[in-house]
Every structure is written in structure tokens, then in C-alpha cells.
């Protein structure tokens, strides 16, 4: 149980002097990536490599009767073809998550098919072309079952059940109720709204892929994944191979965004094939597969009711019901952890004294849901922001004033929410005011610019939020932990070789590690060598997700550096015939205070530690390295008996705003100006932080206006390529103005907080608010994304207060 008292500070035990941190440091990753020398999973070449292709379900809901692969096996060049029974020794996914229904999926389907895209069989041939040729000869017999394509259908009386043994289609159901909330709402005045966010796909530019080889008694698996150690543990469990016999390597990854945090069936099947065939096997996902078999996200219906103070508009009680459509639920962590974060996020950034937030996850015959950058916060902030704006419209108060009533002051920190969320620090009010100061002149300018254009309306929207960073893993995959680790080894030449459990998925992890290590040891950054993504080399960690990188890197690197520094000082002092206390670390070495000539370098120390160990002091052993773990305080993993949890070690904050243009004749919405502010505490690399904001905001804009994963009434996916899933181009995304505040988190290493996801949290909220702002006097209120031209026109036609989903 959290408290609202300040916890202990993270004291690294030495004075950390930022030199590279906060400065402009160009990324070292670019050296390879700019010249085409990156190595992504599809670039891996091994002698004798053969290639797999999967046969996937064409039915959204069916009972598999038979899979006839005889003709496939006879096809020239085919080394193997099999369905479930042909791959013995692959266990089902365990029932890891005790707060949801048990879903123990078999990697290859063994009975029920619950979404188009379910892996049914696999064939291995010389290359993908031939594997696809062969698989065309497969014959699959299924008995079709009635499909369930919406939460309404799933919860209807006598609805077909995806898992009969559940007795319902609820994967998770956490109702919440509070008497005071009910009382205040019954008393009124009340505002309510129903908001709907659509299904989206994280869609990194690189699809998934797995290469596996069994050699020298060990299974090596390369995967485009976010968490090598977690994958290793999963493969160990499902293939019943000791974890020490498995090595997982994450090569260059072309974006993950959450989609690659899951441990997919292919990541188990391909290793099995490598063992079975005694030669390396690869599978590279194609885009159509990705659209149906990599996780989807975000599809949520949010029903909000709030009681508010008539004079100020301040919300006094909030009752919310979130219903998440999580697809078939068959990929671990399917949407349930996201739902818990969405629940907390509805209220986390607001000073509302009483609330009840119910959340449920409902299964449907769609691709399973999973992690996507923002992880529930975008959905929540989208809904809550519209509701706050609605209070303003109902009362005639200014929108900004109603928002202001709910924002934290610095004196509120740390703020312990009834939900258990512990908002530890931030610049909530200042951030909000700053964003408004940026917005106001922009709106003015655009109104002037477009005043003579017929059919053009200008609108603006804004929001503020908190972002859970360095969060819990919620026990998915059985990992009831959220620690991470780094190792520092000083080489004989004084260079530092650093590895970490935090992975790189394109976000500049290696550069961040180099910056932190160089500053922690006082050495030039060129002397730092970094390796991530290798489960042999890197200490056990949970990888890259949840905006956790900066915090865990800082914590673990500083702790490891402390030990290394202390030992190095003792060696240096011995070499300089001085006492430890007289030495200062910096300028690439160890200096006797006040005596410039008395200096030894890290190279001098490194040489002695490993090569000229006869020069060590008597009581010091050779070697100069340390592995350290960082496990944050304040972070909880389990919901307590009252349903409370503080699921994030530290909460960043931000505010966003935009100006939109709505062409009322065609319904086209264009974002003209976008402002984003984020406070993640001190920044390791400001350029990288900005880049994270830009990319995340762009994904949020994509969700607000363009992307939509659709299914037809038979459960057939309609968004199976980039022709029908409209990821925005450079022409659709505006210049993104990013601003920063740096409020340190007192209990975090270096006061850091995370930033990777923050940008996604605002766009749906502010763009929706802006379109409503532009059109509400015409009777249009937007409550659903994406805000397509067709929907805008439909709303204008209706021209009255629409509740509920609009047309197409």
C-alpha cells in the first residue's frame, strides 16, 4: 500500500557530473543504419538456412476438423509440413495471469479457431516462394461457427461463446462501485458521455521475424522482439528445454511499439523446427500476416458520468465503465494489462476525490489485442477530455477553467489516488498553462488566415495528462517483477564494455547507455562499447516497453558504476601512492586533488586490473566489473484487496494542444498546428526525447484521423494491407512543436522519468476536442475516432446532439 509520504531518494553514492547527459550527442546507432549495415532479423544469413511459411485460419470462428498436408509434404523442396499433432512436445501457453480467465492457447491451433490469422500449420522449404507454393496444396476442413464481432454481440443474451467453459465472453471483469459516487451523481448536476476508440495496429515498419538454430547443444533464437530474456523463459517453458540451453538475440529491430513485447506462437514453433530439422530455420512475417496475426489494440468503449460543481465546473465524482474489445484473447497479456492501465489513467491525472471505474475485457472473433504505445492511457484521456469540455459547454464556463479545477499543484505531490496510483512529482499546472500560451496565438493566427475561406471552420483542443513510466509487468508471462540490470566491465585499455537487459528497438538505447556510462565514470564516450539484446551477454532484464528504459538504465548503470569506481579508486590510489579520499575522478582518469601531475588513467587502472595484476594492492583481487540490478521503490505488482495498485514507479506529465481546420463541405479535418509538452525530469539526450515525442504524437494523430482496423460481419478482416490501413504520410502530419519541463522525480535515479509513450496520449483527445470546438454550434459533438470525412459530414447532416456511434 502506497503512502503520500516522500520515500528515500536514489543516492548513487557518488557525485554524478553530467557532461554528455543533456548535451547534443549524435547517435552511434546511425553509423550502421545510415549505410545499410544494420542487421535486422531478415538480414541474418546462416549456412543451410531454410524458410518457413504458415497456413493461417481463414475462418473467424470454427472448429478445426482436419488438416491434410500430404500434398504439401510431397511438393519439391519441402523439408517439413505439420499441424498441431505433427509438432509434439510444444506445450500450451500456461495460465499465467490469475486475474483473468485462463487462456492456454496452443501455438498451432488444435481445435477451436477464433480469429482469421490463427496459425494452423507450418511448412519449411528452401525459400518463402516455394513454401507458399507448397502450402497452397493444403486442405483444411472446418466446421464454421457463428461469429461474434462486437462487444455488444459478445454480451448479448445467448451470444455464441468463444470459450464455453467461461460461461460468458468476459476475459476479465472488474466492476467498481462507490456509494458516495452514486449519491453525488444521483444528486447532480451531471454530465455524461459515451466515447468509442477504434481498433488500431501498432504496425512497425519492420514486421516480425524469427531465425533459430540448434548447435553445440544450445538453441539460438534471433527474434525481432522487445524482451529477449522473457522470450527465452517462454521458449524454455513451451519447449521444455532448460533456459540455460537457450540463447535469444534481438538484432536491430525496426520498431516495436508494443507489438513485439508479446511472445508469439511463431517464436516457439520456429525454434522447435530448428531442433527437429537440425538446420537453421527462419520465418519472416509478411505485411498481410502482420495485419492479422500481430496484436491489435485500443478498441474501447468508455461510458462516463460525472457530477460537478455548478459554479466552477469541478468534477466531484466520476463513474466510468470501460469495455475493451480484446479480440480472441489468445496471445498472452491480451489487452488485460492495457485495460488496467486504462482504468487507472481515467483518473490518475485529475484531482477527483471520489470515483468508481469499472473495466472489462470482452473476447470477440478478431485478432487478439495487446500492447501498443500508450497502453490504455490514450483511450482514457480521450474520453475524459471530451467530458471535461462538455461540462464547459453545459455550464457556459471556459473549457480551460474547468480543466484547471482538476489539475495538480506542486504542493499536492506526492498525490495518492484512491485507485492506488501514486503521482510522485510533476509540473502539471505549469505544463498546462504553457501549452495554452502556445495555443492562443496560434488559434488567432489561423482564424485570421482562414476567415475569408468558405466552408472552413477552425477549432482548438487541449488536454493534460500523467503518464505511468517504469511500470509493473502485471505478472503477464509469469514475471511478477519489473527489475532490470546492467553490467559494466573495464577492459585492459580502460574502455568500458556495458550490457543491459534493456533492449534497443530503435529508440537510441545504445547511445543512452553510452552517455550514462561515460558520465558515471568520467570517461570519453568513445571509450564506451555497448551491447544489448543478447540473453547470454546481458544480465537478466525485461527489455524495452512501458517507457522504462531511461529509469532502469540510470538506476542499474549508476549502481554498477559505483562499485567499479570504488574499486578503481583503490587501485589508482595504490598506483599513485595516495589515499582513496585524496582522489578525484574525471578527465578520463584519477587525479590527486591539487596535484595535476599525479594522475593515472582508466587505461592504467584497467591494465593493472587484468594484465599487470602484480601491481594491485594486496587486498584487491584482479578484475574490474560489476553487474547491478535496479528495482524501483513505490512500484507495486499486485492489486490489493481493495482493487488498488500503484503500477508505475514514477509518473511523468504532459499537456498537448492543437489547431484544426475542418472543411465543412467535404468533412476533411487537417491538423494545422500541434503543440506537445512533456516533463520526464532531466533528459539524457534531448534530441532523442524530442524524437520520441514526434513519433508518438504522429501515431496518435494517425489514430485520431486515419487508421482503422475493420472486420466485415463474417469476421473477415478488411484491413490487411497498407492500401486499406491508412498510416499517415509526411503530408498528413504537421510540424510538431515540442516543449519540455524538467521536474525531477525525487525518488528516481537522477530524477528521471520515462518519455517513450507520452506523445500518444494527447492527440485523440485534443483533435476530437478541436473538431467539436469547430463545429459544436452546428450541433456536432464528436465522440468517436477515427474522425473521418464521412463521419464529419454525417454529423453535420444530423446537426443535433449525437450520442452513440455515428455512421461509418
Amino acid at each position: 500500500m502506497q503512502t503520500n509520504k516522500r520515500g528515500p531518494e536514489f543516492n548513487p553514492g557518488f557525485e554524478f557530473v553530467p557532461a554528455y547527459m543533456g548535451a547534443q550527442v549524435f547517435r552511434r546507432e546511425d553509423d550502421d543504419l545510415l549505410v545499410g549495415r544494420g542487421e535486422y532479423v531478415a538480414d541474418i544469413r546462416l549456412p543451410g538456412l531454410v524458410e518457413a511459411a504458415f497456413l493461417r485460419s481463414h475462418s473467424a470462428h470454427a472448429q478445426l476438423k482436419s488438416v491434410d498436408l500430404d500434398a504439401v509434404r510431397e511438393f519439391p523442396g519441402v523439408l517439413f509440413a505439420g499441424s498441431h499433432d505433427d509438432l509434439p512436445g510444444i506445450a500450451r501457453y500456461p495460465d499465467w495471469i490469475d486475474y483473468q480467465q485462463a487462456v492456454t492457447t496452443s501455438p498451432l491451433a488444435d481445435g477451436r479457431l477464433r480469429y482469421v490469422g490463427t496459425p494452423v500449420a507450418v511448412a519449411v522449404a528452401r525459400d518463402r516462394y516455394e513454401a507458399e507454393d507448397a502450402l497452397e496444396l493444403a486442405e483444411v476442413d472446418c466446421e464454421e461457427l457463428p461469429v461474434v464481432m462486437s462487444v455488444e454481440d459478445a454480451l448479448a443474451e445467448n451470444a455464441p461463446l468463444l470459450f464455453e467453459e467461461w460461461g460468458s465472453n468476459y476475459l476479465l471483469d472488474f466492476p467498481d462501485q462507490d456509494d458516495l459516487v452514486d449519491e453525488l451523481i444521483a444528486k447532480g448536476p451531471v454530465v455524461c458521455g459515451t466515447y468509442r476508440m477504434q481498433r488500431q495496429s501498432p504496425c512497425p515498419m519492420e514486421t516480425r521475424g524469427v531465425v533459430a538454430e540448434y548447435r553445440r547443444g544450445r538453441l539460438t533464437v534471433w527474434s525481432s522482439a522487445q524482451s529477449p530474456h522473457i522470450l527465452r523463459s517462454t521458449i524454455s517453458i513451451l519447449l521444455n528445454i532448460p533456459e540455460s540451453k537457450i540463447k535469444v538475440i534481438v538484432p536491430n529491430v525496426g520498431g516495436g511499439f508494443g507489438a513485439k513485447t508479446h511472445q508469439y506462437p511463431e517464436e516457439v514453433i520456429i525454434p522447435w523446427l530448428a531442433v527437429k530439422l537440425g538446420r537453421p530455420v527462419r520465418w519472416i512475417e509478411d505485411r498481410t500476416e502482420h495485419m492479422v496475426s500481430a496484436v491489435h489494440a485500443r478498441e474501447t468503449l468508455l461510458d462516463l458520468e460525472a457530477a460537478y460543481d455548478e459554479t466552477t465546473g469541478r468534477i466531484t465524482a466520476l463513474r466510468s465503465n470501460l469495455v475493451c474489445d480484446v479480440g480472441s484473447g489468445e496471445i498472452s497479456m491480451s489487452g488485460t494489462a492495457t485495460a488496467l492501465v486504462a482504468r487507472a489513467s481515467v483518473t490518475a491525472g485529475l484531482k477527483i476525490p471520489s470515483y468508481a471505474t469499472s473495466v472489462s475485457c470482452v473476447v470477440t472473433n478478431k485478432t487478439p489485442s495487446g500492447a501498443y504505445r500508450g497502453f490504455g492511457a490514450p483511450e482514457a484521456i480521450f474520453a475524459v477530455t471530451q467530458l471535461i469540455d462538455k461540462i464547459a459547454r453545459q455550464t457556459g464556463l471556459e473549457r480551460a477553467d474547468v480543466h484547471r479545477e482538476l489539475i495538480f499543484d506542486p504542493s499536492d505531490m506526492p498525490y495518492l489516488q484512491p485507485s492506488g496510483a501514486r503521482i510522485d512529482s510533476g509540473s502539471h499546472r505549469e505544463g498546462f498553462e504553457r501549452i495554452l500560451k502556445r495555443l492562443t496565438p496560434a488559434v488567432e493566427a489561423r482564424r485570421n488566415e482562414y476567415q475569408d475561406e468558405p466552408n472552413v471552420r477552425i477549432g482548438s483542443g487541449f488536454c493534460q495528462y500523467v503518464e505511468p513510466t517504469a511500470p509493473t509487468y502485471f505478472g503477464t508471462t509469469g514475471h511478477w517483477t519489473s527489475h532490470d540490470a546492467s553490467s559494466i566491465r573495464i577492459e585492459p585499455d580502460g574502455g568500458a564494455f556495458v550490457t543491459s537487459g534493456i533492449t534497443s528497438i530503435g529508440q537510441g538505447t545504445e547511445t543512452a547507455i553510452a552517455v550514462l556510462t561515460a558520465d558515471a565514470l568520467g570517461i570519453p564516450i568513445e571509450m564506451v562499447t555497448v551491447q544489448t539484446g543478447d540473453s547470454d551477454l546481458c544480465p537478466y532484464g525485461l527489455g524495452a516497453w512501458g517507457s522504462r528504459g531511461a529509469v532502469y538504465l540510470a538506476g542499474s548503470i549508476l549502481k554498477a558504476a559505483k562499485t567499479v569506481r570504488d574499486k578503481a579508486v583503490r587501485i589508482a590510489a595504490h598506483l599513485l601512492e595516495a589515499s582513496d579520499q585524496d582522489l578525484v575522478i574525471g578527465d578520463g582518469g584519477f587525479q590527486v586533488k591539487g596535484s595535476p601531475a599525479s594522475f593515472v588513467s582508466w587505461a592504467d587502472v584497467g591494465l593493472v586490473a587484468s594484465i599487470r595484476t602484480i601491481d594491485l594492492p594486496d587486498d584487491i583481487e584482479p578484475g574490474l566489473e560489476e553487474t547491478a540490478v535496479y528495482d524501483p521503490v513505490n512500484l507495486e505488482h499486485r492489486i490489493d484487496e481493495m482493487g488498488r495498485i500503484n503500477g508505475a514507479a514514477s509518473w511523468a506529465n504532459g499537456a498537448q494542444a492543437c489547431v484544426v481546420k475542418v472543411e465543412t463541405d467535404t468533412g476533411v479535418v487537417t491538423v494545422l498546428d500541434y503543440f506537445a509538452l512533456h516533463d520526464c525530469g532531466p533528459m539524457i539526450n534531448p534530441q532523442i526525447v524530442d524524437g520520441q515525442m514526434h513519433g508518438a504524437v504522429a501515431q496518435g494523430i494517425a489514430g485520431a484521423l486515419f487508421e482503422d482496423i475493420r472486420y466485415d460481419e463474417y469476421g473477415q478482416p478488411m484491413s490487411t494491407s497498407f492500401m486499406d490501413y491508412s498510416m499517415p504520410t509526411a503530408s498528413e502530419i504537421p510540424w510538431i512543436h515540442v516543449d519540455h519541463l524538467e521536474t525531477p522525480a525525487p525518488e528516481m535515479p537522477l530524477g528521471l522519468k520515462g518519455v517513450g509513450e507520452g506523445g500518444t496520449i494527447g492527440p485523440a483527445a485534443v483533435i476530437t476536442a478541436a473538431v467539436t470546438d469547430a463545429l459544436h454550434d452546428l450541433g456536432v459533438v464528436i465522440d468517436e475516432t477515427p474522425i473521418t470525412p464521412s463521419r464529419v459530414r454525417a454529423a453535420l447532416r444530423r446537426g443535433s446532439d449525437p450520442l452513440g456511434p455515428s455512421v461509418k
Partner: protein, 171 residues
């Protein structure tokens, strides 16, 4: 994705391979390729030039963009046999003697790439763009609209392009 029970490919004898000569990054290559093998796959598999990436195989994402006979094209929408007699440049052919082009330098200095998967496609498209044809930001963005990026939000790519072309970094 595969379909179930469709026409087999094995019934008819066919001439399904061809010999081609193609100059890639200045090197004359003589190859025997399957007719159906896409140029993207031949560059990557047969020539080991894995800098060209495959993001969609239907011509939308632009990650596979290379230069064929001086024009930026989607290598996933060409069969390698169509490149017989042609000159091809990939991202590996951009740097000269290990020295980055000014665009590559600008991408590094302005953080115009994150995961790097789409980067080669952007660089190749830009390698044939005449700055004078793209005066405004909107025109630059339209030039870039044939290459998708999921990491950068395009922001720093636009900044990098303007920097490489000697223009200011503001909006």
C-alpha cells in the same frame, strides 16, 4: 497469406529462370534468377545487399526504394528480370569511400532516423530529388509522402532534408 486448395504451380513445364546482367552500385553482376524473384529479394539474397528493406511488398511503404536507371522505384514492384541491362543503386552505394553523403550526415545530425528500417528508402528517394523542385515544406512533405515512417513522425526527416539543402530548420 496462403489460400486453400488453389491451383498447383507444378503442372506445366516452364522456363522459370533467366540470366540477367545488372550493374549494382557500380559493379557488373551476372546472375541467374527465378523470373518471379522480386528485385528486392535478389538485391538482398543474391547480392547480400541487405540495406534495402522490405516493409509491405505491395508498393506502399517505400522501404524498398532503390534507383534503377536514375529513377527512384519500388524494388518490391519489379521482378529482377526486368532489371536486365539496367543500372541500380542501393543505399550501400551512397557513401563515397566511406564518407557519408550530405543527406546522410544531415540525418545523423538532426536525428532523422530512429529504428532505421525506412531510412534507406528515404535516402534513395532524396538522392534523386532536385532541391529547386521542392521549395516549400509542403512540397518537401509531398516528396517524402511515398515513404512511410513510424518512428520519427517525419518531423526530423523534414528538418534533416532542409539542413542538407542549406535551408533553415524552422517550420
Amino acid at each position: 497469406m496462403t489460400s486453400v486448395g488453389s491451383t498447383s504451380n507444378v503442372e506445366r513445364p516452364r522456363k522459370s529462370t533467366s540470366e540477367i546482367e545488372v550493374t549494382v552500385n557500380g559493379v557488373r553482376e551476372h546472375l541467374v534468377v527465378s523470373n518471379r524473384k522480386l528485385l528486392s529479394d535478389v538485391l538482398r539474397d543474391d547480392l547480400g545487399l541487405t540495406g534495402t528493406h522490405v516493409g509491405c511488398e505491395h508498393g506502399v511503404c517505400g522501404a524498398c526504394t532503390v534507383i534503377v536507371d536514375d529513377l527512384a522505384v519500388r524494388s518490391c514492384l519489379m521482378f529482377a528480370v526486368q532489371a536486365d541491362g539496367s543500372t541500380v543503386t542501393t543505399v550501400e552505394g551512397l557513401a563515397q569511400d566511406g564518407k557519408w553523403s550530405s543527406m546522410q550526415t544531415a540525418f545523423n545530425e538532426h536525428h532523422g532516423l530512429q529504428c532505421g528500417f525506412c531510412t534507406a528508402g528515404f535516402l534513395m528517394t532524396l538522392s534523386k530529388a532536385e532541391p529547386a523542385d521542392y521549395e516549400t515544406d509542403a512540397e518537401i512533405r509531398e516528396l517524402l509522402s511515398g515513404n512511410l515512417c513510424r518512428c520519427t513522425g517525419y518531423h526530423n526527416i523534414v528538418v534533416a532534408v532542409k539542413a542538407a539543402w542549406g535551408r533553415g530548420a524552422t517550420e
